[in-house]
């Protein structure tokens, strides 16, 4: 007995001695990645936070405490920008999800030419954003654009209509362009999720008398719900931070009608060289998105519990 006990004790010590180099080895493995993240994420983030407490421009830096934040809290314009940004995000994401769901359902259905449609859905996503947006600029052009021309020939408008020249039409035009870019990705993710649903489930439901809509509601949606929730979070973050689309179409105009937080931040920090104020805005974006993501992750947890397999 004693011998066995001693042997076990000795083995235990041996294993302990071995585990130390393993930890070092693990640190060595993740070290480069951590260093990389520190350089490209942590350091810029820290620098942004530092700058947000500064009055910083081309002339130099001066510590101003919370003054930049106070200005933002008191600015009515900034409040409008926040509301506009969330409206932009919710509207665009909702449209992307609805269209994505419809698109994926159609692409998943056994229709002739399905493979072709699957390819055709890709271009908005594949085409470089700048080129796609120049296309939209032309579409929205009052004199040369096909939309304005069609509206005129149908008698909807008397003369050329510049979609991007009016506050409301510019905002919704930008939303449409953003939805155009974002829908293919959502569609493909939903399609992949739908294809993962066992055909037997649909057949079993069919045998039990469930119609198409019932099957969609009671099988497809619950089965792909975790993907819907994940995609809406991803899509929300992309849309919230969507910059190129607005910048190319309207540069945030007319009269700030398409200025979202990210455009506002860019305009303040880069166009107007107010690095301190711009940084304060950037920090607020991080906080808002952080809070938003936290809520979402909890929703995801709930969804996984409700629709999961356990």
């Amino acid at each position: 007995m004693t011998d066995i006990a001693t042997e076990y004790a000795a083995t235990g010590t041996k294993q302990k001695a071995k585990s130390l180099p393993e930890a070092v080895f693990a640190w060595l493995l993740i070290g480069p990645a951590m260093l990389f993240i520190a350089v490209i994420v942590a350091w810029p983030l820290a620098e942004t936070i530092r700058l947000s407490f500064m009055e910083a421009g081309l002339g130099g830096e001066e510590y101003v405490g919370l003054a930049n934040y106070q200005d933002l809290v008191e600015s009515r314009k900034f409040h409008q920008t926040i509301v506009r940004t969330f409206y932009w995000m919710f509207l665009s994401v909702a449209l992307k999800l609805i269209l994505g769901l419809i698109g994926a359902t159609l692409l998943n259905a056994a229709v002739p030419g399905r493979a072709l449609f699957r390819v055709l859905v890709m271009p908005p996503w594949i085409i470089p954003m700048a080129i796609g947006m120049i296309g939209w600029l032309w579409l929205y052009n009052g004199y040369f654009g096909v939309l304005s021309g069609t509206m005129m020939s149908l008698g909807i408008t008397d003369g050329p209509f510049e979609f991007l020249a009016y506050k409301q039409s510019a905002f919704y035009s930008a939303v449409v362009a953003d939805v155009w870019v974002g829908t293919p990705m959502v569609t493909l993710f939903f399609l992949a999720a739908m294809q993962g649903v066992s055909r037997d489930l649909y057949e079993a439901a069919w045998v039990d008398g469930a119609g198409r809509w019932y099957r969609f509601r009671r099988i497809t949606i619950p089965q792909i719900m975790p993907v819907i929730v994940s995609m809406s979070l991803l899509s929300a973050i992309f849309t919230f931070n969507s910059f190129e689309i607005i910048w190319i179409l309207t540069e945030g105009g007319p009269r700030g009608a398409t200025t979202t937080l990210i455009v506002d931040t860019y305009k303040t920090a880069i166009s107007n060289f107010k690095f301190g104020e711009g940084s304060a805005r950037a920090v607020i974006i991080v906080i808002l998105l952080g809070a938003f993501s936290l809520i979402y992750l909890n929703v995801l947890k709930y969804v996984n519990r409700k629709y999961g397999t356990k």
Binding site: S198, A204, A205, W206, D208, G209, I219, K306, T309
Partner: protein, 366 residues
């Protein structure tokens, strides 16, 4: 419950014809098993009965009503899938209640039907769990529960036990047979496992290449296989088929010389063979005994299972031969042995694979 008739069912996928003129009449409350190798069309036939596949031609009549053009739900059938097809996001209760929810049944009625199914299948304490939390056998029961609550005329089972391990499969076989007795229902069951077919069926349909080879009771198929295919498919271990040459034909039967040189007179009707014809003699492994005169076998592999010893060897050089002998039989691997077989136990198949009718076959038991 109801009868089920299939009248000249044909099915093609493009140019590939998978079912050829299938006609069957299944009695009320009968348990019929479709059995055959992979790709023989048995699952397709079941799906056609269910209405999940459309027959290219032919009619399906359930309870006297032609349902060929009816959607699945109007056929009065319910189906248990090989994968169970349980909804993973729904509880056991909701899975069983699914068909009733589709029918928009009253809650009280639904509760009592689900409860009854759960009682029959011993799932009462599992109703709130999700399928992912159940064992394979329990999932299988939930799938059966879902088919019971609809009170269908005909139950369809598509290889429902093939995802279970061997021990559980044995248990579930017994449970399904008991379920059939307690529900007194017409059941059609698809499997590739002849043991399932033999143990559970009232009658078996043996399918091969999209055609019905034979339709009969298990013992009928065992003792009176109509074709070489049925003979070799039914029975465990498989029937041995030994090439032989007809030496002569007379009133007592056919005289053959088996590969290896052993000669026998087999009591079969010999109207289709003549002297010199090549035939195959079917000998079941359990019908041979160790003897001093008979078939000369050289033993390659010996499997001692306790009660029996399964012996694999060759006869006449290259024809494989299997014998099921007593557990303590004195046999040695690599050594020759002599096996006796009663001529009345042998089957003879002509060159086309059709059987020559046996003159003195054993009486059939139910």
């Amino acid at each position: 419950m109801a009868t089920l008739s299939l009248n000249a069912i044909n099915k093609s996928f493009g140019s590939a014809k998978v079912l050829h003129d299938i006609s069957l009449a299944i009695e009320d409350k009968e348990f019929v098993v479709f059995v055959g190798p992979s790709g023989c069309g048995k699952s397709t036939l079941l799906r056609i009965i269910a209405g999940l596949e459309e027959a290219t031609s032919g009619a399906i009549v359930i309870g006297g009503e032609d349902v060929s053009a009816a959607p699945p739900v109007e056929r009065g059938i319910s189906m248990v899938f090989q994968s169970y097809a349980l909804y993973p996001h729904l509880s056991v209760y909701e899975n069983i209640a699914f068909p009733l929810r589709v029918q928009k049944l009253e809650k009280a009625d639904m509760d009592s039907r689900v409860q009854r199914a759960a009682d029959i299948l011993q799932l009462t304490d599992k109703l709130q769990l999700k399928p992912g939390q159940l064992s394979g056998g329990q999932r299988q029961r939930v799938a059966i529960g879902r088919s019971i609550v609809r009170n269908p005329k005909v139950f369809l089972f598509d290889e429902p036990l093939s995802n279970l391990d061997a021990a559980l499969r044995g248990d579930m076989r017994v449970e399904l047979s008991q379920l059939h007795q307690s529900l007194d229902a017409t059941m059609v069951y698809v499997t590739h496992d002849q043991v399932e077919a033999m143990t559970m069926a009232d009658r078996i349909v043996v399918l091969n290449g999209g055609r019905v080879e034979q339709f009969g009771t298990p013992m009928e198929l065992y003792h009176h296989p109509k074709t070489k295919f049925v003979a070799s498919f039914i029975g465990q271990p498989n029937m041995n088929l030994v090439p032989a040459t007809v030496q002569g034909v007379d009133a007592s039967g056919v005289k053959v010389e088996l590969q290896g040189g052993y000669q026998m007179v087999l009591p079969v009707e010999a109207s289709t063979v003549n002297s010199g014809d090549k035939v195959e003699v079917g000998i079941r492994p359990e019908h041979v005994t160790l003897g001093s005169e008979g078939l000369e076998i050289s033993v390659n592999v010996l499997e001692r299972l306790g009660g029996v010893s399964i012996t694999y060897g060759t006869i006449g050089g290259d024809t494989r031969f299997c014998a099921s002998l007593p557990g303590d039989a004195v046999i040695a691997e690599g050594a020759p042995m002599t096996l006796s077989v009663a001529p009345g136990d042998c089957h003879v198949f002509d060159a086309a694979g059709d059987v020559l009718r046996r003159k003195a076959a054993p009486a059939l038991v139910a």
